[in-house]
């Protein structure tokens, strides 16, 4: 009867690309055999915990017991990791000036990652040409929110046992698949070594004043009542305090608290032509202190309401090819989709993937004035908390700054512990949503320009391009809601970035015109070649990215970019008439609203 959908997740602005094929690895283990001593990887058990944590004690006890018992099996595991995500979510939301109820929810999810075989060839290797629904279900385990060792241990026992039996079955299939299929292009091993990590961080107590947040979201939500063109709206505050616990047979023992706080404001309307228009604005931070104060929140609400109002009247732009500026947040999402997903390590090994950049290491892939790094170790940029910050990835590897592109030249990939040709070790980018198997994912993707100009100059260059190309106008993509990309071979290797606000910029000095109804589309290599210049301003896009290992928090940072040629296509559109009756307004009577 009760359906409490987490609206924060539902409203996650960034629907990033989920490639069709799961990322598992190809190729027999040849190249890295010398590096991968099985014993060195897996036979050390962790030292005792200096500060006994009941959850860790229970997890460690069962991990140790199970590990020792399984070593006696004919196909013993060579690596076993146990992870628990502990979440406390406090939230409140309001609509039309009235709130729901302050919620304080707690939950824990447990994951078991277990490998049998050897690092050279194990059960996680991708089955090539596998049938539909052939994946072995992943083992998750029930973790009580109360620290009762016996209950925790029983849940983990089932998780490990299920995981082990599934892994042994899968290894049989992997070996047969390896024998039947031709040799893979990338014959890297399946698992790379990484030193055990021990870090037990204290879990801070994050204090919140429920009444203050309730009052704030109610007041901000009431702003929309004075905008008759806004039909529906939502203001929410959500604070999620996570503690990731990771323990492994290698001796890794991590307790990693992290908080994500979001104040979000959304509003929607239906235009006269039936197009549904949604505007979503939000502030993400690592603590409640990062949230906007009352005045800023109310200003955000007014801005969202005004943008909805303006968009409702804005004309639709036709499909168009021509020069454009991607403002910082739009440029950030553009790079996340177009470059970021294509430099995730496991895609270089999976022959079902498009592998746009696999063979381009050392070659130019971007204009020479651009650098790209992915740096999860970075917590903030310009005073803004970055969503993609973490200290250790989901395989217990310390996060590292990775130089992806230097002066336009491709230098590296984002790596999990699944090696690929030329990149034998992890750089701490294995990430997952609890319940999924970790793969290489982005953290904080940062695009920087060695040469930049002011935004005014960038606009001047845009108008020059419009004139040079004989176009009637250029476009400025001001803000975006999200995007997606296809990285596989079955579908066109294209991207789609979905803007909220697009402005026409005219060469004759007319004021810019807000337009609606288009998505930015293209293919990676062609689009990168057309980046002409960058501004000296950077902006941050914080969001969540969904792909084969689930939803993970990410950030992208980029300057405004001038692109010589972009293509836009008509946005998907609904056809309903706007509401037939005017909205009920404050202090109206039936006679007044007719």
């Amino acid at each position: 009867m009760v359906d409490r959908v987490n609206r924060r997740l539902r409203l996650a602005p960034w629907t990033s690309g989920a490639p069709v094929n799961p990322a598992r690895l190809l190729g027999p283990a040849l190249a890295l055999t010398a590096l991968l001593g099985t014993a060195a990887l897996a036979r050390t058990l962790p030292p005792p915990d200096p500060e006994p944590d009941p959850l860790h004690l229970a997890l460690q006890a069962e991990l140790t017991r199970a590990w020792e018992l399984l070593q006696a099996q004919p196909e013993p595991p060579y690596w076993l990791q146990v992870a628990v995500m502990d979440r406390r979510m406090r939230s409140i939301q309001a609509t039309h000036g009235a709130t729901g109820t302050w919620r304080d929810d707690r939950g824990r999810i447990g994951d078991v990652d277990l490998r049998v075989g050897s690092p050279e060839l194990d059960n996680t290797r991708k089955i090539r040409d596998a049938g539909w629904f052939s994946d072995v279900p992943r083992a998750r385990f029930e973790v009580p929110i109360e620290d009762q060792g016996g209950a925790i241990q029983l849940g983990l026992w089932r998780g490990i046992d299920d995981s082990y039996r599934g892994a042994v079955r899968q290894l049989i299939r992997v070996r047969a698949n390896d024998a039947v299929k031709v040799e893979s292009r990338d014959s890297s091993a399946d698992f790379s070594p990484s030193p055990p990590q021990v870090e037990l961080r204290a879990v801070p107590s994050v204090e919140l004043d429920p009444q203050a947040w309730t009052d704030l979201v109610r007041e901000a939500s009431a702003v929309f009542l004075s905008y008759p063109d806004v039909h529906d709206s939502n203001v929410s505050f959500a604070a999620e305090d996570q503690v990731r616990h990771i323990l492994s047979s290698e001796g890794t023992r991590l307790r990693l608290p992290q908080s994500f706080v979001r104040l979000s404001i959304s509003a929607s309307t239906t235009a006269e032509d039936g197009m549904r228009l949604d505007v979503y604005d939000y502030v993400d931070g690592a603590s409640p202190g990062a949230m906007p104060d009352r005045e800023k929140t109310l200003a955000m609400a007014h801005a969202v309401a005004q943008r909805v109002t303006d968009l409702r009247k804005a004309p639709i732009v036709d499909p168009y090819v021509g020069p454009a500026i991607l403002r910082g947040r739009a440029a950030a999402v553009f790079f996340h989709e177009v470059l970021g997903h294509r430099v995730e390590g496991h895609r270089q090994k999976d022959e079902d993937e498009g592998q746009t950049f696999t063979d381009k290491v050392g070659q130019p892939v971007l204009p020479a004035f651009l650098d790209v790094v992915d740096d999860p170790t970075l917590a903030r940029v310009g005073g803004v908390d970055l969503n993609g910050h973490y200290r250790y990835d989901d395989e217990g590897v310390a996060a590292q700054r990775v130089s992806v592109v230097e002066a336009g030249i491709l230098r590296g990939f984002l790596m999990s512990r699944s090696p690929i040709q030329g990149f034998g070790t992890s750089n701490g980018h294995a990430r997952r949503q609890p319940g999924a198997a970790p793969v290489a994912r982005q953290g904080n993707l940062i695009i920087s320009a060695r040469q930049s100009v002011s935004y005014t100059e960038l606009r001047r260059q845009l108008i020059a391009q419009v004139r040079a190309q004989g176009r009637p106008f250029g476009l400025v993509f001001d803000d975006i809601t999200g995007g997606f990309t296809f990285t596989g071979r079955v579908t066109p290797n294209a991207f789609n970035v979905q803007p909220v606000s697009v402005w026409k910029v005219f060469p004759d000095g007319r004021p810019d015109e807000l337009v609606r109804g288009v998505d930015l589309i293209g293919t990676p290599l062609t689009t990168f070649e057309r980046i002409l210049a960058a501004s000296d301003q950077v902006d941050v896009f914080n969001g969540s990215c969904g792909a084969e290992s689930g939803w993970v928090p990410v950030a992208a940072v980029a300057p405004d970019l001038l692109v010589a040629e972009v293509e836009v296509q008509r946005k998907e559109k609904a056809h309903d008439r706007p509401p037939l009756l005017p909205p009920p307004l404050p202090a109206t009577t039936k006679a007044e609203v007719r």
Binding site: A61, T99, G100, W157, R218
Partner: protein, 558 residues
């Protein structure tokens, strides 16, 4: 302390005037809804479900989740056309809208905010109703068949606001901790207890004149335990309690004792033999008898016709309602009655005086002398029936359909348990098995793990869910638990083959939904309450197959 906490404090309903005000205001405006070349609404109905809910779960004595708070949801139904032919009772293609919408409402009593939600939902429902009617008319275009009316008229119901109690989570937390804690140390692989309590009211306001507050509430507790047999077979049992509110739950000692008995049974089952392919008499006792009737009888006494479908989805045969008046369903002399108002008086789960459509509940004598004479009805008409019997209920935005609420089944000449067993053993004598199979418990459909149940959506392919508690009764009185059983090819006709029956037992609460696919997807704690009072029955011949386990655990339990 326990009882006091569960009862809580009755809440005055300051919300009532605000909800009424908001719904009245929007109802008045909605009569102006018009789309070009389309009929206006002839009926607008608002249901505002308002209440308090607590849901908790624990595993082996430790909480795994807890949730408590207000719950407020709006259901808007718009009908276009007229009572004879409207948009209702038609299911278009996948993804097509209907005249019913639902929206969560803010918890704060703010008239304007509530009105805006009602305004948006009504607009959506009116557009959906117009599309639904056009789909229905298109589907009927050129049809040579005749169609009955779409909605019974009813007298509008006007009642005073009602009050409901708080539903604190703490007593339920304590309960599930304790019940699941009893599963510790018994060699069980899984052991969890979950509970939900809900108290509130359904405000019904419609253009027909309904202004009614209809009280609603239930509490459900389930305890589930899983162990493994020596051959690796997964052995699972579930104990459920469904009552009208948390204060009506049995004493904790009694619940605990039932849990202990369930675990004792499961532990004993670890070394029990797998029943082979069985063909012979079966004695259904207690909860198993309830499940037998609930799973085979509910569709036979619920009169709501199936949704009309586009001709391309039906074929030449058309849609035939399951329930039929005049059908022999049970042996001579048997009777079946559904009386929600009496159940309400007696404080039973499933009791009510007014259904979800604002229709007073009637006592319906469904089966007389073994033959179906009347059917349970919602406001969805059916040829030969005169009107709603006050049994219109359903979950969420689903069509309100006739659903059993308080069923009582009386056999013709009830016998004692000993007579049933004796007769069963006599019937077993000429078969291959020198024993009588006694089934004492079957999986409730809501918590069945049977893939076929989930896949078909309509019910288990064998006709009945799996027995979870069954034993062989030998002529010398010896009882031997058996496991691994599934029914084969059961349908309603087996009810006519009842050889003997016991006395009708006390009513037992269950969570259920209207017959159909809803029933098997309500989840562990979902659904609507109902109660069934049934006798133990001996059926002359049934087929069951047995299957052993497939895989043992590798790791020893910690």
């Amino acid at each position: 302390m326990w009882t006091l906490l569960l009862l809580g404090v009755a809440l005055a309903s300051p919300s009532s005037s605000v909800l009424v005000q908001a719904a009245e205001a929007e109802l008045a405006r909605a009569t102006d809804l018009r789309l070009p070349d389309s009929p206006p609404p002839y009926l607008l109905s608002y249901e505002l479900l308002d209440g308090q809910v607590a849901s908790v779960e624990a595993s082996f004595g430790a909480l795994t989740s807890t949730d408590q708070g207000p719950y407020r949801v709006l259901r808007v139904e718009v009908r276009v056309g007229d009572y004879a032919l409207d948009n209702g009772n038609f299911e278009g293609s996948f993804g097509e809208r209907s005249g019913t919408t639902q929206r969560l409402l803010p918890d704060e009593d703010d008239v304007l905010a509530l009105r805006r939600e009602i305004w948006l939902a009504t607009d959506e429902a009116y557009k959906g109703a117009t599309e639904q009617l056009s789909g229905k008319l298109a589907a009927r275009e050129g049809s040579t068949r005749s169609f009955g009316p779409d909605l019974y008229r009813v007298e509008p119901l006007v009642t005073e606001p009602v009050e409901w109690g708080e539903v604190p989570a703490e007593p339920l937390e304590e309960l599930v901790r304790e019940l699941s804690g009893r599963l510790v140390g018994r060699g069980l692989e899984e052991g969890r207890a979950s509970a939900r309590a809900w108290q509130g009211a359904r405000l019904l306001i419609s253009s027909e004149g309904h202004r009614a507050w209809i009280p609603t509430g239930y509490a459900v507790v389930r305890v589930e335990a899983v162990t493994r047999a020596e051959d690796g077979a997964r052995l699972r049992d579930v104990r459920s309690w469904v009552v009208r509110d948390a204060a009506s739950l049995p004493e904790r000692e009694q619940m605990g004792a039932e849990v202990d008995a369930m675990v004792d049974w499961l532990v004993g089952l670890q070394t029990a033999p797998v029943e082979g392919d069985y063909l012979g008499p079966v004695l259904f006792e207690g909860p198993a008898a309830l499940e037998l009737f609930r799973q085979l009888l509910a569709a036979e006494i619920s009169g709501t016709p199936p949704m009309e479908l586009p001709p391309e989805d039906v074929g030449e045969g058309g849609q035939v309602p399951t329930a039929r008046i005049g059908r022999r369903l049970l042996p001579l002399g048997w009777s079946v009655v559904d009386d929600p108002a009496r159940a309400e008086e007696e404080g039973l789960a499933g009791g009510y005086t007014v259904d979800f459509e604002g229709v007073p509940a009637q006592r319906v004598e469904l089966v007389e002398d073994g033959v179906v004479r009347r059917l349970l009805m919602s406001r969805v008409p059916r040829q030969g029936m005169e009107g709603s019997t006050g049994h219109g209920r359903s979950l969420g935005s689903n069509r309100r359909e006739a659903m059993p609420a308080a069923v009582r089944i009386e056999p013709a000449r009830p016998k004692g348990e000993g007579r049933l067993q004796k007769k069963g053993l006599r019937l077993a004598r000429p078969t291959l098995q020198p024993y009588l199979l006694v089934v004492e418990e079957m999986e409730p459909p809501a918590v069945s793990e049977d893939f076929q149940v989930a896949f078909s959506g309509e019910g288990p392919l064998p006709g009945l869910t799996r027995p979870t508690r069954a034993w062989r009764l030998y002529p010398d009185g010896r009882r031997e638990p058996v496991r691994g059983l599934s029914f084969v090819g059961v349908d309603r006709r087996v009810l006519r083959d009842i050889v003997l029956a016991g006395r009708t037992e006390d009513p037992v609460g269950v969570m259920d939904a209207a017959p159909g696919s809803q029933r098997f997807g309500i989840g562990t704690l979902g659904g609507l309450p109902a109660s069934w009072a049934v006798p133990a029955v001996l059926i002359g011949e049934l087929e069951l197959s047995g299957s052993p386990g497939r895989e043992q655990r590798v790791l020893k339990m910690p």
